[in-house]
Symmetry: C2
Subunit: 262 residues, 2 copies
């Protein structure tokens, strides 16, 4: 890497970049998807992806999961479990598409069209979390990242108890991958649903992240930056507490504010 | 939205969130993909996506593109043009998968497995750009965003001349969508290849963004934050100038440094 100051002398420097490599997830020998991810915890990532996408209902549906090479996670399903998108198009394509008979979707219709149904009802979770505990989480996540990270450029997802204790931290070039690694870890640790827990993500909260939180039964999703409109709509509909702009000593609560105590 | 200060009194506030909605891209009546995007410039997004994914070689392959509703872009191909992923799996799935006979891929093999071939050779582009011009771009992009934006939480992609004049700015909840909107705009404006131009993105530079830059013939990709390892490898291999951490009066150049003049 060449460090170039305006009007100064450029100098070569060593630099550690966040590693990005493709991971192919195969089910019963056939490719399902490729995600660009940071290697590490790949079995968790594969299992977490399948679970938060609604393709896998539990570990009892899987006979074997193994890395068949550095960048290929091979999942073998037990008989009777397809682990594939059920809404195939005319060509048999295994992707998710807008599930709507009408041509267009918007607002609440959009959510219906793209959401996956969770086995857990986060809206019924009675947990309460104090604003002071929430406000302390980003520093804890960043502190844990300093311990584990050797590169810049990585997103993080951290799972906390209602008292603010960090249970697990995962990093990735993709925020959705970091959350799927947490999801896979929790599933394989027998911790689902994650009732009473808090999931904190660096950066922004998209619809996709809100959906993943609901799929693993986390009642509180907090983000350091802004949520999207559809993330807030989904959180409101599902009873997920959605906290954004969690910085310093204040935060914005976009849904489920009754869980946040002064 | 409820603004909650630790130890203080919570207050309701109005808040404009970045709009996120699903866009389905249909080709000849069949769904190809769904992307979560910020509405606006959707025809550009659909065309840009198809082009940077290597599915569309030019506008002459298209008979019609129209929004068939708010969140569905319908593309009708001219006879003889499929506009679909050619590497179908056994089920006929229209996704990209790792194209490798071996089971695993890494480093340069990863690039071969996931890259799309460009019609343009950015490595042959003789343009030179001064470090001072590059250093001025983030403020110009942010200034243009202040004019257009009414919400936080949006990524931006800006296309600049080698002298630093902003030609087009696009924003989206997804950085790849912002770049595809720029790509579609350039294609429909008859500007491809974008020889001699600079593409600036807010945030990080992933493999996917480097690939999109190469597909539209942009010789310089600059990012405000860090690139990934695979973005730097691809840039080096393709002759793309990759600038990261473009902040203040200095920058890191990860590939194609000969184009950056003091």
């Amino acid at each position: 890497m060449l460090r170039v100051p305006v009007g100064g002398v450029a100098a070569h420097r060593a630099d550690l970049l966040a590693v990005e490599e493709p991971l192919e997830i195969r089910v019963d020998g056939e490719p399902l998807t490729v995600t660009m991810r940071t290697p590490g915890d790949d079995i968790d990532l594969a299992v977490g992806f399948l679970f938060t996408e609604g393709l896998l209902g539990g570990l009892d549906e899987v006979r074997e999961i193994r890395m068949c090479d550095e960048n290929v996670a091979a999942v073998t399903a037990r008989p009777g479990h397809a682990l594939r998108y059920q809404h195939a198009d005319a060509a048999g394509s295994a992707r998710k598409f807008l599930m709507t008979s009408a041509c267009g979707v918007c607002g609440k219709d959009s959510i219906e069209a793209v959401r996956v149904r969770s086995a857990f009802d986060v809206g019924a979770d009675p947990v309460r979390v104090s604003a002071a505990v929430l406000a302390a989480l980003p520093d804890r996540l960043a502190g844990a990242q300093r311990v584990f990270s050797r590169t810049g450029g990585l997103h993080a997802a951290g799972l906390f108890t209602p008292e603010g204790t960090l249970l697990v931290l995962r990093e990735d070039v993709g925020r959705h991958n970091a959350v799927d690694k947490v999801a896979g870890w929790a599933l394989r640790s027998g911790l689902l649903p994650l009732a009473g827990h808090i999931l904190l993500v660096s950066g922004r909260a998209s619809f996709e992240l809100a959906q993943k939180a609901i799929m693993i039964g986390v009642p509180v999703l907090a983000a350091v930056s802004a949520p999207s409109s559809l993330a807030a709509l989904l959180a409101d509909e599902a009873g997920l507490t959605l906290v954004g702009f969690l910085r310093g000593t204040a935060m914005n609560v976009y849904a489920g504010a009754d869980r946040v105590t002064p």
